[in-house]
């Protein structure tokens, strides 16, 4: 495997970071933001009531905070511009790890966020495309996002636009055949302006992923489909940073090992929280458990 490491610096606003390690103040900021986002996930889930996709929302938080808090060339000024970076939430049920992040980084207001799952709201259990909300595509049915992202990727490349495309999939989502059609396509077209991330929390709706469809060894499967696979701890900002900073000559897949329900001990690796309901007592317990 030949890894071509890019310039070991990259730029966000006026900050420049070494590609191996983020400075402490940035790590501290991102960790604080991740904590706040998880708090918001719990608050939204409790206030909204009923079943909520909490587990898969909690597992993707660091990846999302890294993308929106540091990596993406996407801000409230350029959210409608052609040269913005694109993020697609292919695991559409992961909105609890998405809307609070969009809120945290200024794309959707507190007021709009408070409409989550209320009558007539645009913020429902699956994303609805609306560039004003910085939501790039409508999803919910699994296995759609990567194809959509690859199309954007080729479009940007053909027009010589330097923007990047990021698509977040779930490991359960990789049961879908359309994911593998897209995987073949990505490497056949050798699209290198796209990064696919798998939130590999090892559970799907009905139980552990490897008990349902033997989906172990996603690494070699994606490699066999022509992708460069980088395995990381999906809750470690430095590992996330390194993986995203690599410039490769193949399409990039970040296989992020994560914990479903991350941050709340009684939710972690407990698939009852794939889609669970927070009572007031459980909500208070969860908030307490989350405290650093």
């Amino acid at each position: 495997m030949k890894l071509r490491i890019s310039q070991d610096k990259y730029y966000k606003l006026t900050e420049v970071y070494d590609m191996n390690e983020l400075p402490n103040h940035v790590l501290k900021r991102l960790s604080d933001e991740a904590y706040q986002v998880r708090n918001k996930i719990l608050e939204l889930s409790f206030k909204s009531g009923g079943g909520q996709h909490i587990g898969g929302g909690m597992s993707m938080v660091e990846i999302m905070c890294y993308l929106y808090g540091l990596k993406l060339n996407l801000n409230i000024k350029n959210k409608n511009s052609f040269d913005r970076d694109r993020f697609i939430l292919s695991k559409g049920h992961g909105v609890l790890g998405f809307y609070p992040v969009l809120n945290k980084y200024g794309f959707i207001s507190d007021e709009l966020l408070s409409t989550y799952k209320t009558e007539g709201s645009e913020l429902i259990s699956h994303p609805i495309r609306n560039l004003d909300n910085a939501i790039e595509s409508s999803n919910g049915s699994l296995g759609h996002g990567l194809s959509y992202g690859l199309g954007i990727s080729l479009g940007l490349k053909s027009l010589n636009v330097k923007s990047k495309v990021y698509v977040l999939l779930g490991d359960g989502e990789c049961n879908e055949g359309s994911v593998w059609e897209a995987a073949m396509s990505g490497s056949a077209l050798n699209l290198t302006n796209i990064t696919c991330i798998i939130d590999n929390n090892r559970f799907q709706s009905d139980g552990p992923t490897n008990e349902i469809i033997n989906c172990v060894d996603l690494e070699n499967r994606w490699k066999a489909f022509g992708w460069e696979v980088i395995k990381i701890d999906g809750h470690d900002f430095n590992e996330i940073h390194r993986a995203f900073s690599l410039t490769l000559d193949k399409p990039k897949l970040i296989l992020a090992s994560t914990i479903k329900g991350k941050g709340v001990d009684f939710m972690e690796n407990n698939n009852a929280w794939h889609h669970g309901r927070l009572t007031e007592v459980l909500y208070q317990e969860a908030i307490k458990a989350l405290e650093p």
């Binding site: 999803n139 194809s147 990727s153 080729l154």
Partner: protein, 321 residues
């Protein structure tokens, strides 16, 4: 701009609707740099061999993967492209049905689906390749325009119109190379507006696609027996022309003829209009394909077996009045 005349219409007819799709898109892509063509390994079957040579940077064979093709095209269209995607009717409308729903219907992506070989023109390739129910499927998904041209000249006119149309559309190609000519000269084609092919006063035939020429022939023969028949081309099945109820109301007898299942196509559209608008129509009949899987045969044989013939139209018109 091409000068459409009798000899060109004949020449195009010999080449067939797929070839003329490819030729049309090739022509419009020269000036319209936003046209992109994608196929799932049916580029040559879609008449795109010249297109891919002329515009390799705007052509893609994405492999035999229709689901990916639709999602991909939708993403590509978000980068300002007008993406024409071609495959056989069931592979677009059914195999990739949910991709069509999420991307074209729900997100209104600027993607044009070109269903080649729809209806029963695939003959011995059989039911797996027939477009029996594609209009029905697509019509149940909101926001997607549906157009079925009646001959190769109209294929050209449709592609011209859709090259300049932003939004999702389904273009259904029926008939084969050598299919009859309906338009011998240029005419005004307007998306969403029916086109009167011949005007009569006794019976109204509403039809589209391959059945326009067959219906015209029947109308011609019926006029010898002093039965005056209108033949109207409903080339756009969505949006349906809102002048249609008024047109129908001028006739006591209405007949639909279509190369599509009786479920969900023009028969359904007209039945809905008749009920909803409480029209004066005295008798209504339809000649459609049955809602079942069909037997084997060549295209010509199948048209006869399923009575999509001039003779049957004449007989049905007579039974109406």
């Amino acid at each position: 701009m091409i000068n459409i005349n009798k000899s060109l219409a004949r020449q195009w007819s010999r080449l067939g609707p797929r070839a003329i799709y490819g030729q049309s898109i090739l022509e419009f892509a020269e000036e319209n740099h936003k046209i992109f063509a994608i196929s799932a390994d049916l580029g040559n079957s879609s008449g795109l061999d010249r297109f891919k040579k002329a515009y390799p940077e705007r052509y893609l064979n994405i492999g035999i993967a229709e689901q990916n093709m639709i999602g991909f095209s939708s993403g590509l269209s978000s980068c300002s492209y007008n993406v024409f995607v071609s495959s056989f009717a069931p592979f677009l409308s059914l195999r990739a049905g949910e991709q069509v729903r999420m991307n074209l219907s729900y997100m209104k992506s600027n993607v044009k689906l070109v269903a080649i070989g729809s209806g029963i023109s695939m003959g011995f390739l059989g039911n797996s390749h027939f477009g029996l129910e594609d209009i029905s499927i697509i019509r149940s998904l909101p926001n997607i325009a549906i157009v079925n041209p009646c001959d190769c000249v109209e294929v050209y006119k449709v592609i011209e119109a859709l090259s300049n149309y932003t939004g999702p559309a389904y273009i259904r190609l029926t008939g084969v190379a050598g299919c009859p000519v309906v338009h011998n000269e240029d005419y005004q084609f307007e998306l969403g507006k029916y086109h009167i092919l011949t005007e009569g006063k006794d019976v109204l035939i509403l039809t589209y696609g391959s059945m326009c020429s067959v219906s015209l022939k029947a109308a011609n023969l019926l006029s010898n027996e002093n039965i005056s028949v209108s033949v109207v081309n409903i080339h756009t099945l969505r949006p349906i022309d809102n002048r249609l109820p008024d047109l129908i109301n001028n006739y006591k007898y209405v007949l639909v003829v279509e190369e599509h299942s009786s479920v969900g196509g023009l028969n359904s559209i007209i039945s809905e209009i008749l009920i909803q608008h409480n029209l004066r129509t005295k008798a209504y009949k339809y000649i459609s394909l049955p809602s079942s899987y069909l037997s084997s045969g060549t295209y010509e044989q199948l048209l006869k077996t399923y009575k999509l013939t001039t003779e049957n139209i004449i007989e049905t018109v007579k039974s109406l009045i």
